[in-house]
């Protein structure tokens, strides 16, 4: 169906694809795995005409083809669902789907007929999408199904999905896979990029493994396993489950009592939450996203206006509620935010500048005359240290943060917060969109920080992650802590039940 032959692609000095060969057989589901920055998205964007390859050939149905724009790819029956959705929010589902392939003549847009066809397609594949809904009112999962519809509407025979499951809840992942299987049953071909090896094993027929811009393996899914895939991806054995020594918790660092947060629209996001975090322990918060975790972390980091909160927050015996974010950081509270693009980085600034965010106003970064000048040498040294200690790639302090892959952006943020030597670390979704090698790395760093005596409050939507890392696990549901379990004993079922509102026995 689709074959990439000797595809090479450079971005400046970065060799993103180095003689890549990928062969996707018709009527199969083909997975592509690899670390962050391995070149997976690049290869598929070339197949879709978003980038043009420097060298190499694309073969579609046995014929060499030139694919220079998405338009060419669409004409050849190739559709793509991008890592970040390509939807126009204020427009309707139908408008989004017909865009670029509008029915009717040049002077009359026939949306009624199109909507009818979309409704039929949606029924056929059981997508449950209303053609007249506006995109911005749809959930992420629904938006993704609109992207699928877009490809189906254009009768794509090959569908490329770039990390489709990163944004989905477990239930939605199951639904997506069911849809993909229905598509395969109809003779369509699917390429799926993912970081989750269990998903690869569950859905795919064949797997291509990439590393450092090259293809390092092509396998039948039935003949491989997670450990082998992980080893090929990273080039060494990977611990799929963290090993950590028993925690030796010390005195209380953070004590939260009856904390409530009321959003601007008047809804209560946190309804009287109380808990403690001691030095040298990791307290995990598990919960379905949107149950108050975000507000909890932001309230503690000083990012929610005082007026919207009530209750007590004591840090090392001191009430921090009236303090702003900067003063809290100065007291030794570090924060790794859940949305690295919104809260974590200035994407167009270089790594140096991003590395000193939050300490930019004080020595050793700012010097002389009461710290009004930035010391470039000191900034560079600090950045290089972070890059080295946290294995940020490419290791170039002058690159803009935007040009790093998601995993490497995350490592930079983690490094920046770790060098502060915090006494309390607030960390949310530390490994979202991050490859397994980097996950292992980040997990090890978190455990090390704990063992050095830091109190860690960890929020994650990945149950496996919180249960593996946390020494104590609190479950949050609808703005309340509904239970505490020992993660070494509790089963995933028990935790899952609490997360969805079933009370502890």
């Amino acid at each position: 169906m689709l074959e990439l032959r000797n595809i090479t692609k450079r971005f400046g000095a970065v060799l993103a694809n180095d003689h890549v060969n990928i062969k996707v057989k018709s009527g199969t589901i083909h997975a592509i795995v690899g670390e962050n920055g391995a070149g997976k998205s690049t290869a598929m964007r070339i197949a879709y005409g978003f980038y043009t390859a420097d060298e190499g050939e694309i073969i579609v149905d046995g014929q060499p083809r030139r694919i220079e724009t998405p338009h060419d790819a669409i004409a050849l029956g190739i559709g793509m669902v991008h890592q970040h959705f390509m939807l126009i929010e204020p427009m309707t589902v139908t408008e989004n789907i017909v865009l670029g392939a509008e029915p009717g003549g040049a002077v009359a847009l026939d949306l009624t007929k199109a909507a009818e066809r979309i409704r039929k397609l949606s029924e056929e594949f059981r997508l449950a999408i209303d053609p007249h809904a506006t995109i911005e009112h749809l959930s992420v999962g629904q938006q993704q199904r609109v992207e699928l519809l877009k490809a189906l509407y254009r009768e794509a025979q090959l569908l490329i999905l770039d990390e489709p499951t990163a944004v989905l809840a477990p239930q939605e992942v199951e639904e997506l896979f069911a849809i993909l299987r229905r598509m395969r049953a109809q003779g369509k071909t699917v390429v799926i990029i993912t970081h989750k090896l269990d998903e690869v094993l569950a859905i795919s027929d064949e797997v291509t493994v990439m590393r450092d811009g090259r293809v390092v393996g092509e396998l039948q899914t039935s003949a491989t396993n997670a450990a082998e895939l992980a080893r090929m991806m990273v080039g060494r054995d990977v611990l799929l489950r963290i090993e950590k020594p028993q925690a030796k918790p010390d005195s209380t660092v953070l004590s939260v009592e009856h904390l409530t947060v009321t959003a601007r629209d008047g809804t209560q996001r946190l309804k009287g939450v109380s808990f403690q975090v001691r030095a040298a322990e990791i307290v995990g918060i598990a919960g379905v996203e949107g149950n108050g975790q975000t507000e909890l972390i932001e309230a503690l980091a000083g990012l929610i206006p005082h007026a919207q909160m009530s209750g007590r927050m004591e840090y090392l015996g001191r009430d921090i509620a009236p303090l702003d974010a900067r003063s809290r950081r100065e007291l030794g509270i570090a924060h790794i935010p859940e949305d690295r693009h919104r809260r974590g980085l200035l994407l167009d600034f270089d790594l140096k500048e991003n590395s000193v965010l939050g300490v930019h106003y004080r020595p050793p970064v700012a010097v002389s005359l009461g710290s009004v000048l930035l010391d470039d040498g000191a900034i560079r040294k600090r950045t290089e240290r972070i890059i080295e200690d946290f294995d940020v790639r490419p290791a170039n302090p002058d690159l803009p943060a935007r040009s790093l892959s998601g995993g490497n952006q995350q490592k930079l943020i983690i490094g920046r917060e770790f060098v502060l030597q915090p006494k309390l670390l607030l960390v949310a979704q530390p490994t979202r969109g991050v490859d397994i090698g980097a996950i292992e790395f980040i997990h090890r760093k978190l455990v090390r920080l704990r063992d050095e005596g830091c109190a860690v409050l960890l929020v994650s939507a990945e149950l496996e992650e919180v249960t593996a890392l946390a020494d104590r696990l609190l479950i949050i549901h609808d703005g309340e802590i509904v239970g505490e379990v020992d993660p070494t004993i509790a089963t995933l079922e028990e935790i899952g039940l609490l997360m969805t509102g079933g009370k502890e026995q």
């Binding site: 971005f11 879709y48 978003f50 980038y51 043009t52 724009t69 998405p70 338009h71 669409i74 793509m80 991008h82 959705f85 390509m86 939807l87 126009i88 929010e89 204020p90 427009m91 408008e95 989004n96 017909v98 865009l99 670029g100 392939a101 509008e102 009717g104 040049a106 002077v107 009359a108 847009l109 877009k150």
Partner: protein
């Protein structure tokens, strides 16, 4: 006060709103495609000047109008090339065009007519006093139709909201944006031509007097939608018409009265700019990774 509210006022409101509406609808095509068009003022000026000069030489206001459109498209093409192909700062490019077109007509009329910025009188053409009014107001439903009921309109809106998504859907962002900007040149130039050969019978220096900017304000106030934009233009037209009628009736220095439409513009912009939601990709050149 009663003598102010009469048929004459309505008539003059419509007349003053016409050039604003033409320019604002022009701006709408450009800005819905994501290209800020602060050059409306300059585009109106080039339309006004070209229409007057060509009409003077050819004695045909229709040729004059056609030439004005051509000149407007040409100047808009400069804006398009700078902003779309060379990804220049759109406000800077627009301002440069405005400054250029305040100077150039003065210079040329000095050379052609030995005047300091005005063209000679040309005979008034009956039909040209009404045709642009009809065109302008007929363009409101037409624009609405184009925007919401044609593939071109869908693409135009898409490109202004999320060019990357439009690109991924196989739409040429560059082509659509060019079309939008060129259209704005044509419409703004008609608006300008109406000022010089429709409402008066010559071009005078800087005769648009900020109408391009008022049109832009109307576009923002009208939330980049055709019907609302028309209403905004009528409001500004009313302000100007009132100001004109009040001169000589109300005992206030004339300058205070003339200032009304501009003050209204400022109030509207300060009060409403936050309420209307601009096309999301406005002002941002589309940079495709290669």
């Amino acid at each position: 006060m009663n003598e102010l509210l009469n048929i004459g006022l309505i008539y003059s409101t419509v007349r003053t709103a016409t050039p604003l509406l033409l320019a604002a609808l022009g701006g709408l095509y450009s800005e819905r495609a994501g290209v800020i068009n602060i050059a409306l003022e300059g585009l109106m000026l080039v339309g006004a000047f070209t229409a007057a000069v060509v009409t003077h030489y050819t004695h045909s206001p229709w040729i004059g109008l056609t030439a004005a459109i051509a000149a407007g498209v040409l100047i808009a093409a400069i804006h398009a090339v700078l902003c779309i192909s060379f990804k220049a700062q759109q406000v800077v490019s627009g301002m440069a065009i405005n400054i250029l077109l305040i100077g150039v007509p003065a210079l040329l009329s000095g050379a052609f007519f030995e005047s300091t910025g005005a063209t000679p009188q040309i005979p008034l053409h009956e039909l040209l006093q009404y045709a642009p009014v009809v065109i302008a107001f007929a363009l409101v439903p037409v624009t609405w139709y184009v925007l919401y009921r044609t593939p071109f309109g869908l693409r135009l809106r898409a490109v202004g909201e999320n060019p990357e998504a439009a690109d991924a859907a196989g739409v040429s962002v560059t082509r659509i944006r060019y079309a939008g900007v060129l259209l704005s040149g044509a419409l703004a130039a008609i608006g300008g031509a109406y000022l010089s050969i429709g409402q008066s019978s010559l071009f005078t220096r800087n005769m648009t007097a900020g109408r391009g900017f008022i049109a832009l304000a109307a576009l923002i106030f009208g939330k980049w939608r055709p019907v609302q934009t028309m209403l905004a233009c009528l409001l500004f037209g009313l302000a100007e018409a009132l100001a004109t009628q009040m001169q000589g009736v109300v005992r206030v220095p004339v300058q205070f009265i003339q200032i009304i439409p501009y003050v209204l513009t400022m109030i509207v912009l300060a009060g409403f700019i936050g309420l209307s939601r601009a096309p999301r990709a406005i002002g941002i050149p589309y940079q495709k990774e290669k």
